[in-house]
Structures are given as structure tokens and as C-alpha cells.
Symmetry: C2
Subunit: 346 residues, 2 copies
């Protein structure tokens, strides 16, 4: 391992001068800077981050909280995996490395202790353990934070515009002539608001058409995976066999729901129309006709990294940044021909 002192000896300058040349700060003649840079390159010098971190208190490490209790897929989560691919890339371009924060590190060190241990400079919260009390303390821990999925007091959330998407789904069904529309949700939680916001938007839009949303048409599944969708759909459909359409808060759930519908002999969209959420490739292989919403994972990741980097630089971030979720129209929504269309003579 070659150090700054080796370079000092070789070039005849002092260690601080080497440091200045390498980091491009302080006043230095262009000539000596060049000499030093050349020597560094020739010697194959690489800075030692531990030493840098110790003296500057800057580790160039971004902590990531990723637990995925909801889906239990970890890196393979349909939203989070892709989000991290992009986030990792953005952060690396800025000279930071990712570090996964963990509760089972060193006999149950907390997230914040893990951060202090590694001098983590910023935190991306993707998905923590449900109702972890430590989450509430993150906003005030002194380390810049950004969240890509949760609402946490005092931390900026970069999150899909779920409410608008919910409205969009309702409108899609309404304009296609549907009037009895079910909503298949997932656990409604204030801090992890995806399902709830989609529901709010959906309901508001329905009511904007002068219809009343019958609460019987709402069924909340108790998890985010296939089987929960199957079970939820069964309950909903047995209770309300009159629905002609259903909006489902995620594709994994939609997959289970459609499985149930198919099993009882229904066809999609002839008997019942479906809109999902996530554009989950896993599901789309099996159900390529499923209309759904695509969360813009790249955009979320990019905005999250921007906000975080800004915060690290001392510029406070906004409370929330919304990213539109794009409606992907495929073939799971039936259009009733009797619906009056604008511009036609009826």
C-alpha cells in the first residue's frame, strides 16, 4: 500500500501539499500539482478511505434500509430491486457507496448505531420492518434521510402519485361504462400509504361522478402476495357478484385474484374487468393482458438520490416529491358499447 508520505518522499513536497494536490483544494501552483498527480498515477496510488473518513468525518457511505417484510422478496421485490439498481448507479456516480443498514448486525445494533459505526452520511429508507419504533426517530437523528416508500416524520418522501393513479383507474372504468366497481386493497397504513392513497383517489373519483362508493365493494387483503389476492377476491366476489370491474392495488394481488376468477369460470375482461398496479414483470408473463400502472422506479431512485445528495450538502429537501405512475392500457378492461362518447351523435 502506497501512502501520501511515499508520494511526498518521491516528489520532495510535504504530505499536506500532496493532500491538497490530490483533492484539488487550497492554493497550489499548477506545476507542483501536475508533478504530484503524475507521481500518484505512476505509483498507482489509491487513497485510503478509512484515514480520510477518520479525519474528515465523511465516509462517502449511504445507508440503505431494506427489509421487505411485506413481500419477503428482499432484493427481488418488484419495485425495490429496480429502484436500487438505479439508486446505486446514481450514488456511485457521485462517489458514494451503498451500505445496507441492518438490525441483526453486531448483536442487534440499531440502524442509527450502525450508521454511527460506519459514519454513514445519508440514509435511503426503502422498506423497514413494520411499525419499527426506531423509524420515527430517524427524522431527528441528524443524518440526512430520504424515503422511497414510507412517510416518516421529518424525512422527505419520494413516492408515486398514488392518489392520481387511483383516480385514473376509476376514470378508466367509468368511461368504459362500468358502474359497479370493486376495490381490492392491501393493509391500509398511514406511514406506508400506497394502498390507502390509491383507495382515496379511487373513491374520490367515483364520487366525483355523482356515484356513491358502496363500502361493500371494498375488500382489504391482509398481505401483498398472490394468495392474499386470491382470498380477498373470493370474499369480495362472493359478497358482491354484481361487480363488473375491480381495481387491485398491486399486480401480485391481481394475479391471485385473477386466478380465483378464472377458477370459478369467469373470463377477463368479458365477465369482469381488472386493473392492477406495478407493471410487475413476474405477473405480466402470466397475464400479458393485464392493464396496470407502472411506478417510475428510475425516476424515484434518481429524485431520491438528488434529494439526499442535496441534504448532505446542507440544502434541506422538500417534505414530499410525487412521481406520476403511468397507466398502461392493455386488454383487461372491457368497454361497454352503450356508453355515450363525446363527439358522437347518440
Amino acid at each position: 500500500m502506497i501512502t501520501i508520505y511515499d508520494l511526498a518522499k518521491q516528489t520532495g513536497f510535504s504530505a499536506p501539499t500532496i493532500s491538497k494536490a490530490l483533492n484539488g483544494n487550497g492554493k497550489l501552483s499548477e506545476e507542483t500539482r501536475q508533478i504530484i498527480l503524475d507521481a500518484a498515477k505512476k505509483a498507482g496510488y489509491t487513497a485510503n478511505m478509512a484515514a480520510k473518513a477518520l479525519s474528515t468525518k465523511h465516509s462517502r457511505l449511504i445507508g440503505v434500509i431494506l427489509e421487505d417484510v411485506a413481500m419477503k422478496r428482499g432484493f427481488e421485490h418488484p419495485l425495490f430491486g429496480g429502484l436500487l439498481n438505479k439508486f446505486r448507479h446514481e450514488i456511485e456516480m457521485a462517489g458514494y457507496d451503498l451500505l445496507f443498514l441492518s438490525k441483526h448486525f453486531n448483536d442487534g445494533m440499531s440502524y442509527i448505531d450502525h450508521c454511527r459505526y460506519r459514519d454513514v452520511e445519508g440514509i435511503l429508507i426503502v422498506n423497514p420492518i413494520d411499525d419499527d419504533p426506531e423509524m420515527k426517530t430517524l427524522g431527528a437523528c441528524g443524518i440526512p434521510c430520504v424515503s422511497a416508500n414510507e412517510f416518516i416524520p421529518g424525512v422527505c418522501a419520494v413516492i408515486s402519485d398514488n392518489e392520481t393513479a387511483g383516480r385514473r383507474a376509476a376514470r378508466e372504468f367509468y368511461e368504459a361504462g362500468h358502474r359497479k366497481i370493486g376495490f381490492l386493497g392491501a393493509p391500509f397504513r398511514e406511514n406506508s400509504p400506497a394502498a390507502l392513497e390509491r383507495y382515496k383517489g379511487f373513491k374520490a373519483e367515483i364520487e366525483a361522478y355523482g356515484l356513491e362508493f358502496d363500502e361493500r365493494y371494498l375488500e382489504v387483503c391482509d398481505a401483498w402476495w398472490d394468495q392474499a389476492g386470491y382470498d380477498g377476491m373470493k370474499k369480495l366476489y362472493e359478497r358482491c357478484p354484481d361487480i363488473t370491474a375491480v381495481f387491485i392495488v398491486c399486480d401480485a394481488l391481481a394475479f391471485g385474484a385473477m386466478k380465483y376468477l378464472l377458477e370459478i369460470g369467469k373470463t377477463i375482461p368479458d365477465d369482469i374487468s381488472v386493473i392492477g398496479f406495478d407493471d410487475d414483470t413476474t405477473v405480466l408473463k402470466a397475464a400479458p393482458m393485464l392493464s396496470t400502472f407502472r411506478q417510475d422506479r428510475d425516476r424515484i431512485a434518481q429524485l431520491a438520490s438528488e434529494v439526499l445528495l442535496q441534504e448532505i450538502a446542507g440544502i434541506p429537501g422538500p417534505e414530499v416529491v410525487r412521481v406520476p405512475a403511468e397507466y398502461i392500457s392493455r386488454a383487461s378492461v372491457r368497454r361497454f358499447v352503450h356508453v355515450p362518447q363525446m363527439g358522437f351523435i347518440s
Copy 2:
């Protein structure tokens, strides 16, 4: 931030004594150890890793090379995502953190420079960029390495027993009465041997039955994703419409291949039998009847972490560790009734 010196002041002991107590090394009376530990706990002391790393040269960081050029799914790769979930867990239990090594870090620093920069103690190679010349140098770079997918000179590979799996697939078809069996492969590369090894085992088994494997029955797709499987199957089937079965080296490819077969009006397994590889949930949602092989990602991850930790402790690892891939029999293989069975009078 509270340091060892604060603890020294509070307890009346010296810094080195605090250090010994905290790390459990050196001789120390049980009494003073207890006093110090209590004080540390009360003060909420967390060690500073940068300082530790600087003085010990041990960063407690494991570098991970994960590029996924083959599938372009990164964290979402069907094998690698799950593997990393488990590997991360194992490594954390041992007090290490993951650090992703990257070529686009700090203006194109190499993997090895990235390691030196962070004092990385060990490297897990999951999937590098194809034919990256740096890979060949890893085995001799002085940092313990383990590979979960590739063969790299001087580094232990923990990898599925592809050859046995290939034989198993051939046997499955043979015993079901198939005699004209196609093989749909993916790029054969010596260092990334999955496809090639599966082929070798498959062919050897076929020949062990006294049959000759007709090279016309072999088609090598040019990538690892759906479309390549579709295209490859098309070529193979147009050339050899007499095949009654096909072994396909990965499920993603199998998905594309089955799509083609279905499109031309074939049924599976009545017209053609298929065995895939990976037990890829993505594909299995769409094709739940697909018989395939499950790579034991947890086991691979666990063995890889064990080997690496051992190497870090100075105990050299074996050259290669094989992990059985389990055959999962579902319903994509047709059994011909006319096959003579052992024990029956024919």
C-alpha cells in the same frame, strides 16, 4: 459522538484498557471489564469503524461484484437476488457489511482499486462484465475471493452441479420414452460454465444409453432472455421437427421457447416435452406446469460466505464446491406408455 477517551475519563482507566475491555482481548480483571462495559452501555458508546479500520487494517467490509450483463436485471436476477439476500444475512451475522464494487466509481476506478480504497477484506464475485480482463487478476490480488457463478483462476467457485443436472434431465426424458431430444443452450463460455456443463452432462448421459447425440439437435441461443429462447426454439424446431422433447438451460429461455411452440399450435407435453432450469418464479406464474431444476441459492450463498470467511481467517478454500440442483417434476414431460419398465414382463 462519544469516544474511548470519554470512557477512559469516566471510569478512570486508560484508553488501551478501554479498548481491551470492549474487544475482549488482552488480560484484564473481570471487575474492570465489567465496569467499562457498563459505562459504555450507559453512555451509548458505538465504536468508530474508520478509526478501527485505520489501525487494524480490517474494514469488516465484503466487496460484491454484481453486474448482471447476461440478464440485465441486477438485483432482480432470478438467481442472484435471492443469493444476495442470504449472503447478506450470513455476512452480517459475522459482523461484516456488503459493499458493491463498481467500475464506474470515482471516474472508473478498477474493482481492485475500489477494494483498496475501502480496505475490503474479501470479495464475492457474483457476475462481472463479460470478458473483463481484470477478472483474471482477482485470484492473485491478495484479497480473499469466492465466486458464485464463474470460474476464475485461483478463486474458489461455489456453483451448482450442472453436469449432474444435465444428466438428470436426459435420464428423465429417456426413461419417459423420449429418444429424439433437443437441447436449447445459451452462450457456451468456459469461465461462466453453467450452459456448457449442463450440455456436457446431458450429452454424456444420452451417450451412456448407447444413443448418439445428433449435433443438429443442439441449438445455442445468443442470450439468456425470453426472446432468445423464442428465436432459438424456432430455429431448432424448424430444423428438427421430429424432436419429442427439449431440455432448455434456463426458464427464461424456456418461457420464450414455449411461447413459440404454443404459437405454432403445439401442446406441452403432448406434442413436445420441456424441462427448464432455475425454478424462476417469474416464469412459473405463467407456466406452472414446467418441470425444472432449482438451484439452491441459500446453500450456495451460505457455502460462499463460509468459504470466504475461512479464507479471511487464513484458511485457503477448495478450488470448487458443487451444490446439487434439485429436479422439480411438474407436468411438462410426457411419459410414453410403451417404454419397457424394469421388473415388468414384456
